[in-house]
């Protein structure tokens, strides 16, 4: 005996019973076609909704990354206890920002 199947997918109802003979008649086939079309429409809408939600999530993730970088500057850096072999980094040297400083000529 196989494992017991549980869950919504496994519930059998009377509404779920399908007469296999119905598609063999014209009316049954039309009914089946309309049901399939409706299911297709429903799934397509759901896929579009999921795409939209994915786009929202991607956008939010990008915002979170930016915010994290900004907030990281407020986080205290771990103290170096000096016991390790790691050497302290030198203070950075700055380079002149190109095209940002105003330059003026002065004759003396």
């Amino acid at each position: 005996m196989g494992p017991e199947r549980r869950g919504v997918q496994q519930i059998r109802t009377f509404a779920g019973l399908v007469d296999g003979r119905r598609s063999r008649t014209s009316a049954g086939a039309l009914l089946e076609l309309s049901m399939l079309e409706m299911e297709k429409t429903r799934l397509t809408k759901e896929m579009q909704r999921a795409d939209r939600r994915c786009a929202e999530i991607r956008k939010r993730l990008a915002e979170i990354t930016v915010k994290q970088q900004r907030i990281h500057r407020f986080v205290e850096k771990p103290q170096d206890d000096g016991s390790g072999d790691a050497t302290a980094a030198a203070l950075p040297l700055h380079t002149v920002p190109v095209g940002k400083l105003k330059r003026r000529r002065l004759s003396y």
Partner: protein, 344 residues
């Protein structure tokens, strides 16, 4: 984030009338050597000795962009290194759940680098003109900049509180030790960190060259003007005044008027009285003000007596035209005497 990009840096260039005599070249070369060796240079001298011009000249020879600061009693540390001078507003709209909008607005003060910080950060040349006019407390920040090459910034500034001074950074200071109005004493620690070049008044050759270059007068006239001013300066009652500026004033006005530099020229004498009057106040003789009399004596001594045109023998009826338009006008006004005047 600093707003260094809002500051202006200067590129210095010589004017065509900038004079470079051996005297000027010698001082500039010494200062340049000291500066290249990593020491701040301090030009110290009374008014009119060319401190600021020399500082600019040396800065131009160093070949870096220049940041210029003029000392002021109102200065504090923040006027040199910067402060929280602006505001930044940011808004975060949180729409994580599409039906819920969360809005967060933040307004924070903004740190703005000032001139010293910018110069230290990017390795510019700093000219701190008349730095003794700033209070010593304001200049304290320079101590670590000049010795440890480290600029200490307030903790309110975001990021590291220390700024490594750029290796190309150099500083040139000027001050006037004779000045007594609006200046402060300087801490020994600061003076100890810089090489001080004492400047005296320029030599005769330099003063004549400067007067000639700035006014456009002929050499003889420039020399006579400089002689008057130098002679008057030797009276020694007025802290080395009058200075080269008086020479330039006299020279420019004479050139503008197309006048003469002559003892007999009343306009020239009046001009000398006007320009040098302030320096005459302390000249007394037996309790009486004698400045203008002494000045007249000096003018008579230093200028040639005004030459008169001598009529050519045998052509006494022909009118002799003076060389200059002013002389011609004067000859016409003087009229009947027939003897025109011309300048030296």
């Amino acid at each position: 984030m600093s707003l260094a990009e809002e500051l202006t840096v200067l590129s210095l260039e010589k004017k065509p009338d900038f004079v470079e005599t051996p005297y000027i070249q010698g001082i500039a070369q010494r200062a340049l050597d000291y500066s290249r060796a990593g020491y701040p240079v301090h030009f110290s001298g009374s008014a009119g000795t060319g401190k600021t011009a020399l500082a600019m000249h040396v800065a131009a020879l160093l070949g870096r962009q220049v940041i210029l600061i003029h000392g002021d009693d109102e200065f504090g540390s923040s006027d040199l290194i910067g402060g929280q001078l602006g505001y930044r507003s940011s808004t975060v709209v949180d729409n994580y759940i599409h039906s819920v909008v969360k809005k967060e607005e933040t307004v924070s003060k903004q740190w703005v680098d000032n001139r010293l910080t910018t110069a230290c950060k990017y390795g510019f040349t700093l000219i701190y003109d008349e730095f003794t006019r700033s209070r010593p407390e304001a200049n304290n920040v320079l101590l670590s900049v000049l010795e440890e090459r480290l600029l200490e910034l307030p903790s309110v500034r975001l990021g590291e509180g220390y700024l490594q001074v750029h290796p190309d950074f150099s500083a040139i200071f000027t001050s006037n030790p004779e000045e007594y109005a609006g200046v402060h004493k300087t801490q020994d620690a600061l003076m100890d960190r810089m090489i001080t070049l004492k400047l005296e008044h320029q030599d005769l050759e330099t003063e004549v060259a400067i007067t000639q270059a700035k006014s456009g007068l002929p050499g003889r006239q420039a020399k006579a003007i400089v002689a008057i001013v130098r002679e008057f300066r030797t009276l020694g009652v007025n802290n080395g005044r009058p200075t080269i500026r008086a020479c330039i004033m006299l020279g420019r006005i004479v050139a503008m008027r197309q006048g003469t530099v002559a003892a007999g020229d009343l306009e020239f004498r009046q001009l000398c009285h006007d320009v040098l009057n302030a320096d005459c106040i302390k000249v007394t003789h037996e309790g009486q003000a004698a400045g203008l009399e002494r000045l007249d004596e000096i003018i008579a001594k230093c200028c040639l007596p005004e030459p008169k045109l001598v009529p050519v023998p045998g052509e006494s009826h022909r009118e002799v035209q003076p060389a200059s338009p002013r002389g011609r006008r004067r000859a016409k006004a003087g009229g009947k005497g027939g003897a025109g005047l011309h300048g030296t």
